[in-house]
Amino acid sequence: MSKGNGDILLRVEELKKWFPVKKLVFTVGHVRAVDGVTFNIRRGETLGIVGESGCGKTTLGRLVLKLLKPDSGKIMFDGIDVNTLNGKRLLEFRRRAQIVFQDPYSSLNPRMTVLEILKEPIETHKMNVGSIEDYVVDLLERVGLRRDHLYRYPHEFSGGQRQRIAIARALSLKPEFMVLDEPTSALDVSVQAQILNMLKKFQEEERLTYMFITHDLGVVKYMSHRIAVMYLGKIVELGPADELFEEPLHPYTKALLSSIPIPDPIITRKRERIILRGEPPSPINLPKGCRFHPRCPYAMEVCKKEEPALERISGEHFAACWLVSGK
């Protein structure tokens, strides 16, 4: 199901972001939110990033858009080094790469009308769109809203409608790349399906490239061509969506897949279960060796000592685990 022809839009290499933990004025440790992450996204593709809370998936999304400054590592967007961008060229990058946030209640300014919200990016970027109002109405209609919504304020809309406005705002600048950070997790299932299908439609129409961040495995499978599974700041497995779900390699992915409740009572009660012990450790005091080893049902001696690297196992399927890479 993989799309694109090797035309890579975004390349991320060894990206790191550590947040200092301070006591008074002293730094007593670091939260290793993103700790050496490498991947790329092809043009027209959706890369799903999935993981539990605190695994660094949101930080990764912000780093890629230069909303946060990385401590080290490289981000290449269409051949341009994002870290060195400034001035006019940064502005151009900001137009080409957009974001939709999780919570449409805090991502829209409550004092601005829909027209003002959608007009602002167009004016900031001095886009040549002819009549701004016609352009905005057109945008609204594309996301399933109407002209008479133009002069309303965000509080007059439901959660699903607000998320539509946020998507219209992101689309207004004709971007090539969008980071979708849990865009439907604040919405009800019936509305979630509307938004997901709409995002898919826009991707097909405009060959948009998505980085889709979520903790919902059903949603990530439905949306993505390839999926990266994160655990405590690292990618532990990366592969084509169907392959990753049918033949997961990493014990963490296996455990995640076997522990999510499936909306089918026959399947969900019959399947084999790997219930993980404990909870993810604090990203301040990471375990030595493989970060997953204290919870891993297959942990070996080597896992306690050395950290496994993300290696190609077959075709496009990568995993960071001593069990599959062999040592």
Binding site: S190, A193, Y222, I260, I262
Partner: protein, 326 residues
Amino acid sequence: MADNTLLNVEELKVYFYTYAGVVKAVDGVSFDVRRGEVFSIVGETGSGKSVTSRALTRLIPSPGRIVGGRILFEGKNLLEMPEEELRKIRGKDIAYIFQDPSSSLDPLFTSGYQIAETMTVHATADWKNAWKRVIEILKDVAMPDPHKRAKSYPHELSGGMKQRVVIGISVSNKPKLIIADEPTTALDVSVQAQILKLLLDLRKKYDTTVMLITHNLGVVAEVSDRVLVMYAGRVAEIADVYSLFGEPLHPYTIGLLKAVPNPLKRIERIEPIPGSVPDMINVPSGCRFHPRCPKAMDICKREQPPLVQIRGGRSVACWLYAEKNS
């Protein structure tokens, strides 16, 4: 059948009198909960599932009011009971587990104290015996290192451990009914699986009944015996879990099941339900689902469908099925 019924709710109505108008959050809901089962109420935001669960022990804050109905718990009507008497049932015979364990626990007391307190308040144990029971209970809820954790304050515990303490409090008095309102929503998937398994284990061990309130159809499929689907303050349908997922009857249930992406199946396209949940002050006339229903008929716009019993102990509130039976 009658002995088997632990809880019987009839025509429950809970209205909230706000400045904007009357919100009919729960508007004529009837169901039975049988002893020993896991009975789930599933619905989207604003469906009234949480309000229903709280109304069972009259935990409805102003401006809300229970305006009608009957709640029979072991034959006694909880709605007519004096508050004093109800307090003896709440936390003892009927225990609650809420979504956010951080706000269910008092930050100033240790987890052990809070479990022991529940037992002493209801006089099921004196302080000395309660303290002894605390360790047993913490072992029952699979708390790692129970002796140490009994002395921990809530902020020293992780989200999963806090929820274990809350579950410990709820089972401490050996309740007949545990009402769990979105008990795993605030937790990560890997921890969610642990907590669900724990609830099922405890139901057997303590010989109790569980009423689960959730919006997650996966969780419903996983643990329920019978399921009530709620929409806009009313019952859409009630069925055993296998029939509900295998052959959903109400168009809302059918739509809901088609809208959730199943991670274990290859799906080309999920089908959304058009529109959104209604504004609860101006609810649609007739069947509340009719503006979003693909099968809506004329009668659906005019008259509210009754909840009718059909084969296999199922009931459904939809004119598609009501006609055939009348």
